[in-house]
């Protein structure tokens, strides 16, 4: 087994854990963290392919994409966090369950 394959397999696992977490977790914060984990899985997949395709350096395109992707994911997460905190402030709710 090559190094990259260990991580590309891990990426698949993280992606599914994250996806499950978004649907199954209750607390807002956990849902937000789950999206980050999902994203980490995606990024790991990208970078594992970068390592696979390395010549004198690892493939820079997926790395650049991942840097962009991380920043985008963080911006969304910060926004989600602001929403979650504000909802809590206004209603005292920490998850969607109370709402229905």
């Amino acid at each position: 087994m090559e190094t990259y394959q260990i991580y590309s397999i891990t990426s698949g696992v993280l992606f599914v854990i994250g996806m499950g977490g978004v649907f199954l977790s209750k607390h807002f914060i956990k849902k937000i963290i789950a999206t980050i984990i999902m994203g980490s899985g995606v990024f790991l997949a990208f970078v594992s392919f970068a390592e696979r395709d390395a010549l004198s350096f690892a493939d820079p395109v997926p790395q650049a994409l991942v840097i962009t992707g991380i920043v985008v994911a963080v911006a969304s997460a910060a926004f989600a966090l602001a929403l979650a905190r504000r909802i809590y402030q206004l209603t005292g709710e920490e998850s969607f369950t109370i709402e229905k």
Binding site: I36, S40, F57, V61, A64, T68, V71, V74, A75, R86
Partner: protein
């Protein structure tokens, strides 16, 4: 040997991810999230992606972790406030079946398991392609920088990066749209904490220098605007926490200028190039290196200010509540 290290690291990452979501307390979740980020950063290093590792450690784990930590004051406050009731609730819950044992829960978990198998099959069978390494290698000399990642980010795919700067700015606008705070509220004096003051005194110059270092050498080695920005942003956050709200001191137009400087300059440069008959962001080859350095510097400042503003807004959200 290396397979063993990588396998252990992979297992650790998965374990931390799972624990992070399953931990009963939010505090645990957030600290496990920090640990997850660090483990992931190690994985990036193992994969030869040092730029990604720094970004991960700085932004995803560092900055976002701090935001979560700050948020904990909100949410953990209720857990302590509703301590008894929530404890009682916990007991009653533990007597009942956990949610994932109910029928829909079982179906969901089974479905996820199946999905995992399919995912692994697909990931395992990814055909070899060679990626774009060779293409980058061939064009790297024309890019004006030596670090291939920087070349992709700021030259080959500069359009993406420019839009991404927009996303960061949007992140701030979106946080502002949530409401509940006035833009850049007047700071209330907080009691001086001598330890914090010492930390600030010590770290400010170091963070600044290290950031500048990352920025400048990002041309040739790992590092660049985003990483530098987080370090500079950290200065702002520290100063804010230490009772020195830098952003409220400077005039409003200046702080706004700082916010948009990066994306604004980038865009104006692009328009100038368009007017000159070139494509958007198509630098003249001989100036490419200089232009990229200017863009990176301005972008780093803008991103740093943006990150500080995001933090201040989220932090302030909490203070409004305590009023």
């Amino acid at each position: 040997m290396s397979v063993l290290i990588d396998s252990l690291l992979a297992i650790l990452i998965v374990y931390l991810a799972l624990q992070c979501l399953l931990a009963p307390r939010l505090t645990q979740t957030v600290f496990l999230f920090f640990a997850f980020g660090l483990a992931l950063a190690l994985a990036w290093v193992r994969l030869g992606a040092v730029d990604v590792a720094i970004t991960e450690a700085a932004i995803a784990s560092g900055f976002l972790g701090v935001l979560f930590l700050d948020a904990l004051r909100d949410f953990s406050f209720i857990t302590s406030g509703k301590q008894e009731s929530s404890d009682a609730a916990n007991h009653s819950v533990s007597k009942k079946k956990p949610a994932f044992l109910s029928l829909p829960g079982v179906v969901l978990v089974l479905g996820l398991g199946l999905f995992l198998l399919i995912t692994l099959e697909a990931v395992w069978k990814v055909p070899e392609s060679g990626g774009l390494t060779a293409a980058t290698e061939a064009l790297l000399p024309e890019s004006g920088v030596e670090n291939p990642v920087t070349a992709v980010l700021l030259n080959f795919r500069a359009y993406d990066t420019w839009l991404e700067m927009g996303v960061i700015l949007l992140g701030l606008l979106a946080v502002m749209a949530v409401g509940g705070i006035k833009i850049f509220p007047v700071h209330r004096k907080t009691p001086e904490d001598p330890v914090l003051q010492q930390v600030i005194l010590f770290f400010t110059p170091i963070l600044f220098l290290f950031g500048a270092f990352l920025l400048y050498f990002g041309k040739n080695g790992p590092g660049g605007a985003f990483q530098a920005a987080v370090l500079w942003g950290a200065i702002g956050i520290l100063l804010h926490l230490g009772g020195r709200p830098v952003l409220t001191v400077i005039p409003r137009w200046l702080s706004q200028l700082l916010l948009i400087m990066g994306i604004g300059f980038f865009l104006m440069l692009g328009f100038l190039l368009l007017a000159g008959g070139a494509s958007l962001f198509e630098y003249p080859p001989s100036y490419a290196g200089v232009l990229i350095l200017i863009i990176e510097t301005l972008a780093a400042i803008s991103i740093a200010v943006t990150l500080v503003s995001v933090f201040v807004h989220l932090n302030q959200l909490n203070k409004e509540e305590s009023n």
